[in-house]
């Protein structure tokens, strides 16, 4: 089980801010593929990965990063702080 959190329009498209996912995905990309296959909401949210960022356990990471030992995955658009 892994906690997956969404922010901004990713959250709006998927419809929930957070969920627990039972997955054996080895990498972030594997998780994205798994979710995309599950429901059109995910397919829509993940349709353009260039406009997405991912954080693993609250640190910015990459789509090819391994998920071993990770407790929380976050998907969101490029940040607009400041």
């Amino acid at each position: 089980m892994i906690t997956v959190v969404y922010f901004a329009w990713v959250r709006e498209r998927i419809g929930v801010p957070r969920e627990e996912i039972d997955t054996k995905a080895a990498t972030v990309m594997d998780l994205v593929s798994e979710l995309t296959a599950r429901d059109p909401r995910y397919a829509l949210a993940f349709s353009d990965l260039d406009s997405l960022r991912v954080a693993l356990d609250q640190e910015l990471s990459y789509f090819d990063a391994p998920l071993a030992g990770v407790g929380e995955v976050a998907f969101f658009p490029p940040m607009t702080g400041g």
Binding site: F7, A55, Q58, P77, P78, M79, T80, G81
Partner: protein, 147 residues
Amino acid sequence: MRVSVQSDDFDLAAELRGFGRATNTGATVTFTGLVRDDTGQLDHMEIEHYPGMCETAIAKIAEDACARWSLTDCLVIHRYGALKVGEQIMMVATAGRHRVEAFEAAEFLMDYLKSRAPFWKKEVSKDGKSTDWVRAKNSDEDALKRW
């Protein structure tokens, strides 16, 4: 060094009381970001944030700035929630020996907060019909290259 992520407004004056008041401080710089309305159509901005990651990311950016410019003090406050036009969104303050250090560190903080602190802004129009997520600009990412 102090970092705060909060929904409440802040009082720049109160925050700066005693800020950087070391005898080797020669310069302090502050930056305040406000909700701007260019078109007269904006009602407010909703600022979404990633609790936990915000604090960690900002603290790291602030520590980098402190070390790189040998700052004598450093402060970052960033708000989240619904903010009306004219409200304060965030502030940074830097204190250093010379003006160049204080200015550079403040700009570095702003450039990094812009692209590396997990906040997202949504503009909500007065009629409530238009809600747009503010898009990150390529120039924001490019701005990091100067550091």
